[in-house]
Symmetry: C2
Subunit: 444 residues, 2 copies
């Protein structure tokens, strides 16, 4: 993939709100989601369909399709528009990078200031303030990785102070399978889970989790899959990635500590995973590719995890922020308070390495499969991606500006992730937000 | 659920092959699968659709549906027949036990010797020898448990001789998420996986697995799911189970040993999982329910995992056999050689406990979700469900009658699981077989 006319930072849209320089969704972004108008008496209950963000609007791809793609976007992207208009975007993800790229180019040209298509496409816009979103694909399988060496070290220190990082970490992109059914879109709140809690001196009891945590992650959507039994080589791996979102891998730390040996996390993770609605394509992120480096003293990745392109541009510089809004803040009209800012570029394993590793044994990826990066903690504690790290396992409470403090999340706390790319000479590319609020536990 | 007229051991079918006393599929069984006639010039490539086994025949449910359900099975089961005729049985599984039971009763009556429906239904039979099967549902999520205390102890001994069983084992029904995409139906062979192998004194290398193993398991299909955030109580749990199959959780032991800390098995398991085509319903297994007992000195299950019914009849006495047919045996026309026989009744956790545990945190099960029991080793080594146990981690080769021996599986080895229930006064209920052959690894 390379920079092309769609990345030109000077491009302006006839949708004025896209041109502020501060929007997450300028014409250089063009991310995909599945949406509908919020249900009310006037709208009734609409069907979910695909849309593309532009400024503060959604371009309704089902409306574009109905209008006649050939008329407003040219004749070459009819299949893509049909797939992008669906209530689940798996068919769009099953396409090739060339097909995705053609759709992006057509959208970019039609949404540009002065485009002849303005009059027709204007009728296909819906204000983002009037819509609600849903999980944009059928997630066949959800895999969660562990790509931050800083997170792995911080967490390891709590359990093994003298030997925090396991021997396999720098060789194996560690991952495990997560639960697809409990993935929910940003804005859907969830109940604090019940689970077995064990203190050192007593038998376990079933209780509401009292060490509830977030994990700051990105989600990676698979594009076209691989035939079962084949592998995807690292040089080809990015052709099998459609795009990225923000992902919160909610975690019940007390449940996890008791259950996770020897087969890994289970009920401590599978009660809820939140994702942001907008999927930013890999092509939109092209200006923010950066070198993938690891300390010279570390082992070099095995050949199946190594390529020149991966070293030169395998990483992605996505800025990531975590903010918390407690119930008290909400009552006082106070916005969410930022507690962490970091970047995806600190990850120890790249997207391409995750895909190559996942399939090296012949495991078949399918379009729309979701891969979490694992908690994206940066090198300093101000960049830590989970309360477990920030509070050193609950020992050092985090102070908030309104006088409250937290070791782990309380009922009513909303956690808000945001993500964006920004640098001189390139357009800002935003991810929107991933937000959910902790509700009280079900009476067990 | 209780015994009813469909369980009467004296029932005979007008399909004579069901009445031999040795068939896996007498009229008291009536399991479901998804099948089609094997593709050839005469049949072309047919569509997959649901069927019910009777003797050596498949009752084609799509043909029944087309014939007019009301005419041949009565008017009360039209919705069930339509769901059972589909190419994926999720809609059937989403129904209630009362609906499943009504379909079973209608099928039992129509297939009985002397039934008026014989003439019409005869046209809906297809010989099993002429069909092929496919995975009978869309598996939304696949969970694998670890319910045999004998397996957990045998494996634990290899790693921790003095402390084989972890402290959580007798409290927590340990489980983890598996890969849904790589589940294949019996008869589909698979390539030996490549993966990172690590010896104590050298860096890891990418190589074909050389400690390839099977795991003898049963698969449990979820029926109706639970709303996200709610739990399924143990008293209600079996109402959310549709039926069972045989399941082989193929395992790359060398890959597993190097990768599994701290997040559990990943590439060592997700290259292939084999399942038997026929789903035996919980109702068909009713005569084989047995008491669920654990040693008096063991902790009692926590209240959410405990009920009187679960103690009295929570376990299932399904006989299970593992046989191996090497390439040499195949060339010599020798049948697969049995190396293990055990029973599911030895499991430490019951089906109902698995469902109650899985959902206690609000995790949502969906119809057609598949739960593996984990390797079902019995109390003696002759009942061990994996080569890892039988050969004590590869140290004591298993001798076969033709002079060959195995520590782990070689290319060309076929592994065949069979399962059946049998006792005086009840009809034999069989599961058919779950078989696959190891193919050479892909050139890495």
């Amino acid at each position: 993939m390379a920079l092309n006319e769609t990345h030109d930072a000077g491009l302006q849209s006839w949708v004025a709100s896209a041109n502020t320089g501060k929007s997450d969704f300028p014409i250089q972004n063009l991310p995909f989601a599945v949406f509908r108008r919020k249900s009310n008496e006037q709208n009734g209950s609409e069907s979910f369909r695909g849309g593309v963000a532009i400024g503060d609007q959604v371009l309704d791809m089902a409306a574009v399709h109905q209008l006649g793609t050939a008329k407003v976007l040219g004749g070459d992207v009819q299949a893509q528009v049909e797939a992008a208009a669906a209530s689940q975007l798996n068919a769009l993800m099953a396409m090739s990078p060339a097909q995705w790229s053609a759709l992006r180019l057509a959208l970019s040209r039609a949404l540009r200031a002065g485009a002849a298509e303005e009059a027709a496409l204007k009728a296909c816009l819906v204000p983002q303030s009037e819509v609600e979103y849903t999980v944009p694909v059928q997630v066949g399988d959800y895999t969660d990785f562990y790509t931050s060496v800083h997170h792995a070290t911080n967490v390891g220190k709590l359990f093994r102070p003298t030997n925090p990082l396991m021997e396999n970490y720098k060789w194996v992109p560690i991952g495990y399978h997560g639960r697809a059914s409990s993935i929910r879109i940003s804005g859907v709140d969830f109940k604090r889970p019940n689970g077995q809690l064990k203190t050192p001196d007593a038998d376990p009891v079933l209780k509401p989790c009292n060490r509830l945590d977030y994990e700051l992650e990105m989600g990676i959507y698979a594009g076209a899959g691989n035939p079962w039994g084949d592998a995807i080589g690292i040089e080809d791996a990015e052709n099998h990635i459609f795009g990225l979102c923000l992902l919160n891998d909610w975690s019940a730390r007390d449940v996890q500590a008791w259950e996770y040996q020897p087969l890994g996390p289970f009920l401590s993770k599978n009660f809820a995973t939140s994702i942001s609605p907008w999927i930013v394509t890999l092509e939109a992120l092209e200006p923010y590719r950066t070198a993938f480096t690891r300390p010279a003293e570390d082992p070099q990745p095995l050949p199946y995890l190594s390529s020149a392109a991966n070293s030169q541009r395998g990483a992605l510089d996505v800025q990531l922020s975590v903010a918390i809004q407690t119930e008290k803040m909400r009552a006082a009209g106070q916005a969410a308070e930022q507690i962490t800012q970091t970047s995806y570029r600190h990850a120890y394993w790249t997207m391409a390495q995750l895909v190559a590793h996942h399939t090296v044994n012949g495991c078949d990826l399918q379009p729309g499969d979701l891969m979490g990066t694992g908690t994206l903690s940066g090198p300093t504690m101000a960049e830590a991606g989970a309360l477990l790290e920030i509070t050193e396992g609950g020992k050092k409470p985090l102070s908030l500006s309104n006088g409250e403090s937290r070791t782990f999340l309380l009922d009513g706390d909303a956690v808000v992730f945001t993500g964006w790319c920004e640098k001189p000479g390139a357009a800002r590319i935003g991810f929107g937000e991933c937000r959910a609020t902790v509700l009280p536990a079900r009476q067990a």
